[in-house]
C-alpha cells in the first residue's frame, strides 16, 4: 500500500460569508505528480495557500507525512519538506541570482549560522544554475529576470530546500515555449529523484506530459479525480470549463 504523503482532509475555507473551499478531500501518494485543475476562481490557489500554511483552513485538516500541519507556521511547514512556488514569483532586486539560490537553504539558520560562513554550498548552487539553464544570468539581479526565468529560479529555490513535496502554482503561465519544454524535463527529473509534485496548471499539454493524476475543482468542490486521459471524457469537467446546462439554469 503506497504511503499517503499529503492528505487534505475535508478542508473548507470561508472568507466572511463566501465559502471558497467546500469539504475538499484529496490524497497524494509519495512520488506522484498530481495536477490540480479548475476554472479561474474555483479555489485552487486558496487550497495551495491552506496547504502551505499561508492561509488557515476554516474546517478540516491538512496531514503531511503523517503529521497534522493545519495550524503550523509557513516556515516550519517548509522545513518539514513541503515547499511551494508562487503564481507571480517576486525575486529580490538587490541580490544576484546566485546569491538568492545560495540563500535558498534556510536549514540550520539562526545564531548558530553566524559561525557558518564556510557552509556556503557553492557546488549545489552551480549544479542548479546549470540544470535550470540559469548560469548565464547568475550575476544579474534576481528581480530583473523575465517572468519565465523567475519561475525557473523559484523551482530551483524549492529544490534547494531538499523538499519531499513541491506545490507549483501555474509554473508555465507566461513562460516562453522553449522554457516550458525545459521545465517539463526538469520536473520529470525532479520527480524521478523521489520528489512528489502537486501542480496547479491550465496548460493541458503540460498536464498530460507530466501528471499521473488530475484533481479538478469547481466552485470550491472536487468534481473529478482521474487520469489526464479521462479528463475530456468527464462531463462534469467539460461543463465546468465550457459551461453547460447548469449555467443555462443560472441565467434562466
Amino acid at each position: 500500500m503506497p504511503e499517503n504523503l499529503l492528505h487534505i482532509a475535508d478542508v473548507s475555507k470561508l472568507f466572511g460569508e463566501n465559502q471558497v473551499l467546500r469539504g475538499i478531500d484529496i490524497k497524494v501518494t509519495a512520488g506522484e505528480v498530481v495536477g490540480l485543475l479548475g476554472p479561474n476562481g474555483c479555489g485552487k490557489s486558496t487550497l495551495l495557500n491552506v496547504i502551505s500554511g499561508f492561509s488557515r483552513a476554516s474546517a478540516g485538516s491538512v496531514i503531511f507525512a503523517g503529521e497534522d500541519i493545519t495550524s503550523t507556521a509557513v516556515d516550519r511547514i517548509a522545513r518539514k519538506g513541503l515547499v511551494r512556488t508562487f503564481q507571480l514569483p517576486s525575486m529580490p532586486r538587490r541580490m544576484t541570482v546566485a546569491e538568492v539560490l545560495q540563500a535558498g537553504k534556510a536549514e540550520g539558520l539562526g545564531f548558530r549560522s553566524l559561525f557558518a560562513r564556510s557552509r556556503f554550498d557553492a557546488r549545489d548552487v552551480e549544479r542548479l544554475l546549470g540544470e535550470l539553464a540559469l548560469d548565464h544570468v547568475r550575476d544579474l539581479s534576481a528581480g530583473s529576470l523575465s517572468g519565465g526565468q523567475k519561475k525557473l529560479l523559484s523551482i530551483a529555490l524549492a529544490l534547494r530546500t531538499n523538499p519531499r513535496l513541491i506545490c507549483l502554482d501555474e509554473p508555465t503561465a507566461g513562460v516562453h515555449p522553449s522554457l516550458r519544454q525545459h521545465m517539463v524535463q526538469l520536473l520529470r527529473k525532479v520527480n524521478a529523484q523521489g520528489v512528489t509534485l502537486l501542480i496547479i496548471e491550465h496548460d493541458m499539454h503540460f498536464i498530460r506530459e507530466l501528471c499521473d493524476r488530475c484533481v479538478v475543482l469547481d466552485r470550491g468542490k472536487v468534481i473529478a479525480d482521474c487520469s489526464p486521459a479521462e479528463l475530456t471524457l468527464n462531463s462534469g469537467v467539460v461543463e465546468a470549463y465550457l459551461g453547460g446546462a447548469r449555467d443555462k439554469r443560472a441565467y434562466a
Binding site: R84, P92, R94, M95, A103
Partner: protein, 297 residues
C-alpha cells in the same frame, strides 16, 4: 583647532557606530526603525545609572547591554504583525514613550536634569593625552564594529536577512523564520548602538533625555541614506561627512556673518534637504550597496 578636530572625529566615530547599527536593520534587514535613538539611549543610561548608583564601569556595560536587548526585543515584538511602514511608526512611538518615561522617572533616571559628572574615560590621563586615547579607542571600536557587521552580513545569516528584507513571503516559503531573523537583527544592532551610547555618556560625562529626541533618529537616517543604505562603508562615510559638515557650520556662519540662529536652522535644513535630495536623485547614496557583493565560494 587640533583638539576640536579630535572632538569632532570622536563624535563622528560614535555616530558611525549608531549608523552601522541602523544600516544593519534597515539596509540589510529591511527594518525601517524610526526609534533608533532609543537603542543609543540604552547605552547612555546604562552608563548613567551605573554611575548614579555607584555600580562601576563593568556593571554599566551589563546594564546597557540588558537595556539594549530588552528594547531591541520589544521593537521586534511589536513588528511581528505590522507591515514595514506601520512598524516604522510604532518604533517612533515606542522611542518617544521611552524618552517620556526617562524624563518622568527622576528617582531612577535623574529626570529632565539627567545624570551629570559621569566618570570620564581614561581618568588617569589629562588634557590632550586623554582626548587622543579616547579617539584611538573610538577608532578601534569602530573598526571592530565594522568587521563584526561585515562578518554578520557576508555569511548565510546576511543572505537570509537580505531575502527577508525584500521578499518576506519568499523567505517564509523557503523555511526562514523571518520573525526570529528580525528579532536577532534588532538585538545585535541594538547592542552596537548601545555601545556607542555607553562610550558617548562617559565621553561627555552627561546623560539627559534631550539626547533621545526623535530628530536625532532622523539625523542618523540622513547619515545612512546619504552614505549609502545597505553598505557598511556607506554608513560610516555618511556619519563622518554629516558630522564634519555640522561641526564646521558655525565657522561658515562667522565667515559669512550670519546670525547665530542660522546654525541650528542650517543643520535641520541639511538633514531634511539631504534626505529628500538623496531619496529623489541618488537613492543608493554615495557608496552604493554592491549587488552580488557576497563571496559565495
Amino acid at each position: 583647532m587640533f583638539d576640536f578636530l579630535i572632538h569632532v572625529t570622536i563624535l563622528a566615530c560614535l555616530y558611525s557606530l549608531v549608523a552601522l547599527s541602523l544600516n544593519l536593520q534597515s539596509g540589510f534587514g529591511g527594518l525601517m526603525n524610526f526609534g533608533q535613538i532609543a537603542l543609543f539611549g540604552c547605552g547612555t543610561y546604562g552608563a548613567g545609572i551605573a554611575y548614579k548608583y555607584d555600580l562601576g564601569f563593568a556593571s554599566g556595560i551589563v546594564i546597557a547591554a540588558g537595556f539594549a536587548v530588552c528594547v531591541g526585543w520589544a521593537f521586534a515584538a511589536i513588528g511581528r504583525n505590522l507591515q514595514e511602514d506601520y512598524w516604522g511608526m510604532a518604533t517612533l512611538a515606542l522611542a518617544e514613550v521611552i524618552r517620556i518615561i526617562v524624563n518622568n522617572e527622576g528617582w531612577f533616571t535623574g529626570g529632565a536634569q539627567g545624570i551629570s559628572a559621569v566618570s570620564p574615560l581614561f581618568p588617569s590621563l589629562a588634557g590632550r593625552m586623554q582626548q587622543v586615547a579616547i579617539l584611538w579607542s573610538c577608532v578601534a571600536f569602530l573598526a571592530v564594529a565594522y568587521f563584526l557587521c561585515r562578518w554578520l552580513t557576508d555569511g548565510r545569516y546576511g543572505l537570509g536577512l537580505k531575502v527577508s528584507r525584500e521578499e518576506p513571503q519568499l523567505a517564509l516559503s523557503l523555511g526562514y523564520d523571518v520573525a526570529a531573523l528580525r528579532r536577532e537583527c534588532m538585538i545585535l544592532s541594538g547592542l552596537v548602538a548601545a555601545s556607542a551610547g555607553f562610550v558617548f555618556a562617559h565621553y561627555i560625562s552627561f546623560v539627559a533625555p534631550e539626547q533621545l529626541v526623535s530628530s536625532e533618529t532622523f539625523l542618523i537616517w540622513a547619515m545612512v541614506i546619504i552614505g549609502g543604505i545597505g553598505n557598511h562603508r556607506g554608513a560610516i562615510v555618511g556619519a563622518f561627512l554629516l558630522q564634519f559638515i555640522f561641526s564646521f557650520i558655525p565657522f561658515f556662519k562667522d565667515l559669512v556673518g550670519l546670525p547665530t540662529e542660522f546654525v541650528a536652522a542650517a543643520r535641520l535644513a541639511m538633514i531634511g534637504g539631504g534626505l529628500i535630495a538623496f531619496m529623489l536623485w541618488r537613492q543608493s547614496g554615495l557608496v552604493p550597496e554592491r549587488i552580488g557583493g557576497t563571496k559565495l565560494a
